[in-house]
Assembly symmetry: C2
Homo-oligomer: 443 residues x 2
């Protein structure tokens, strides 16, 4: 099956209108995606997204457009033979690698993820099932080990997969009935306590018992919100906080030192995404507390994950589906997390991120860590109308996905209306609320 | 003075034709720059570049184009009042910051650097002189301290500047006669020993006594080259090696353990750019050796520098002029290096990078560290025909730059001929040697 053409669609949703997704840095995000469609001569379409929060989607789209010129004309079979070849061809392009992580790695990931989507569709399997059915040796061969071996060797990875393989059939059967357990982000910073509580109550009725709120701006307000939330949900349910990198190491210590009474499960992104030694320092400073630190949605490469996991500086590993270079990178991260016993709790949200991460939760819990005792997969209950197969939830769990591939088929009407800047949602919007022109006073 | 328009020019030089600049990853770089011209109503033009190695220059150009829409119409005076405001406006844009380092931070840096260029030109001063003349409080106010204070506080930075200020007049006078001491990268990986030696001999005649060679592919070949080089230059001159991130931590240890006999000054980029804990491990493993580790040209943010400096995991701090967000970020890094006593040895090369870094060498050695005892500023002796004011060297030192601003005025003919893809150098070149299509088999 040959890739015959590629299309990148810049899709943005004006979520800032009701402050969904807001945090101290991303004050008014417009949830967006660079959507990649790889067309083939085999009647199948490979789909992936790179999630963003509005402005900049075109930057990633520009990059993807450049990279796809390399794979139009190549075949799915070439990819399936050794996915690491495409991974290296893109990530180690001898000129482009100068561009580093961020836009470049995400653009590479878009292509890799679309190829995996195509493969799963060709096999008529959801992505998780394709991954679960891969031989351990093949999985190990998908990974770029160059910078990771001091934390996990290919031999160790093989053993992890083989050990999980012993109970894989049972695990798959169990998870075919009910997918990964989920948690919800309910407390967006721009919302009132009452609005958050209303969301929480609705989610509790649906079976959720783990909730995350945003913190960061004002310590006493944050503490008041945590008290409010803990009282509202009771002591048996899980409460997490997310500071979205707003603090320096010193401020993080001050803020977090007030969190003891609230029985938190984790404190997410207290500091900058690349401050590994800061995470080491925080995790040592608060090792007596009930909570642990969590991050990953902004960890820009497997090398950052490697360091955090090897030093056990994070207690929860929050992989993202589109921040790193696709399935191949995420495989490496999940395997490293398994070695160090750190639960994989993927980052969700955005446009269709939840559709993707449910597959990683499945693969981890069936074929890598091989259990579901400690993991929580993020679920955000909006923008599911974007896709033909919305994520489905049951009793606070993901319903096991059955659609082939990632299950990322967008509704044509959604794409048309939300295309930036020409779609009807955007063409009539004032310029000062569009893309780069949508500014806030910085602190 | 108002910014009236902006132009981004994608300029590439087919340096791959003679393998200049080659290393294990960047096998055939085409030295390139996204050149930014900010036009004003005051008769001055603000100029900056983002250096790349070919493909991807357009990715950065796309980003700069997006960002400049924010500053066209703004004034130089607004910028000069508090440069940190523009820094935050760009880097902390509430939607764009999702794009991280790499393309995004470099594009922000392009704009910030062009504004500093404009300011220096308005003052009729070379950039270094503008920086030297700034009040310590003003310098401290230029820096985004959010993630840095655990390594260096604003108060400590102020003291460093005030202390250096006591001898600033003398230091400036000394350095007005002869600028920063330089070293040369002579041993590109694609060249023969003989070709390298010919370059070294020529450079020695010009007064240089410090040379760097590339290593990484084959340990015994590397050792043979080091032996050859050390014998060729004698024991009194400095020899450094650069592995360009080719190794994992384990391989780095193996390779580097063979380097003892050659009296190296530093081992540059043995491992991945973001492997802070790897650098910590290497620096501890080889603490008895004469050499220290060096990196920075690919350190994507001040936070990475912070960690390496705070832990003294590098012995030389190789700032780059365009990898981070411009003058403001580099100020922070140079001040952190001063606190921890790590010599600032800027990364040169590329198109016009040397024109920029000489100013940082001047500022550091006059107004921050306040001495010239341990620093070496990289010098690469090609592509100087690109600009109207080439870097000048004397007795192995930079000649103190006198042109206003960065001294980055490109020759119009050079820009016209090298514009990608339409300039005459590129329009006739085979597609498979152009941009993203110029591929190598990856290892």
């Amino acid at each position: 099956m040959k890739i015959t053409s590629a299309k990148v669609i810049d899709v943005r949703v004006p979520t800032s209108d009701n402050m969904l997704g807001s945090d101290p840095f991303h004050k008014a995000p417009d949830y967006s995606s660079a959507v990649l469609h790889l067309e083939t001569d085999g009647g199948l379409r490979g789909v992936s997204v790179v999630f963003t929060v509005g402005a900049g989607t075109d930057w990633i789209g520009h990059g993807i457009q450049d990279l796809v010129t390399l794979i139009v004309g190549s075949t799915l079979e070439e990819f399936c033979e050794a996915p690491v070849k495409l991974y290296r061809r893109l990530n180690d392009h001898h000129q482009l690698r100068w561009l580093h992580d961020g836009v470049f790695r995400m653009a590479c990931g878009a292509i890799i993820n679309a190829m995996w989507d195509l493969w799963a569709k060709a096999e008529k399997k959801p992505l998780w099932k394709l991954l679960v059915d891969l031989e351990p040796e093949f999985v190990v061969g998908c990974i770029d080990w160059r910078n990771l071996k001091d934390a996990l060797t290919p031999e160790e990875a093989l053993k992890i997969l083989e050990k999980a393989g012993e109970i894989k059939v049972d695990r798959e059967e169990a998870m075919s009935k009910l997918g990964p357990k989920a948690y919800c982000t309910a407390g967006w910073l721009g919302l009132s306590d009452e609005a958050i509580l209303a969301t929480v109550r609705k989610l509790q009725e649906e079976g959720f018992d783990a909730f995350k709120v945003k913190v960061g701006l004002n310590s006493s307000e944050d503490v008041a919100r945590l008290k409010f939330m803990r009282e509202a949900i009771g002591n048996d349910q899980s409460l997490m906080v997310d500071a979205n990198q707003f603090w320096g190491v010193g401020e993080a210590k001050e803020h977090v030192s007030n969190y003891g009474p609230f029985g938190l499960k984790w404190v997410e992104e207290p500091i900058a995404r690349d401050d590994v030694l800061g995470y080491v320092e925080l995790s040592e400073s608060f090792k007596e507390e009930s909570f642990q630190f969590a991050c990953g949605e902004h960890a820009a490469s497997p090398v950052i994950f490697k360091q955090l996991l090897k030093r056990r500086a994070v207690g929860y590993c929050q992989i993202d589906a589109v921040r790193v270079s696709g399935v191949n990178d995420v495989m490496a991260i999940i395997l490293m997390a398994a070695k160090f016993g750190v639960p994989v709790c993927p980052h969700g949200g955005g446009i269709a991120l939840c559709n993707m991460i449910q597959h990683y939760g499945m693969w981890d819990q069936i074929a890598v860590s091989g259990h579901s005792e400690t993991q929580l997969v993020e679920y955000i209950d909006f923008l599911q109308d974007a896709v033909e197969q919305p994520v489905r939830m049951k009793d606070g769990h993901y319903v096991t996905p059955e659609a082939p591939g990632w299950g990322l088929e967008f509704r044509e009407e959604f794409l048309r209306d939300h295309t930036f800047p020409g779609g009807k949602i955007w063409s009539s919007r004032p310029k000062e609320k569009c893309g780069v022109h949508f500014e806030f006073e910085t602190d």
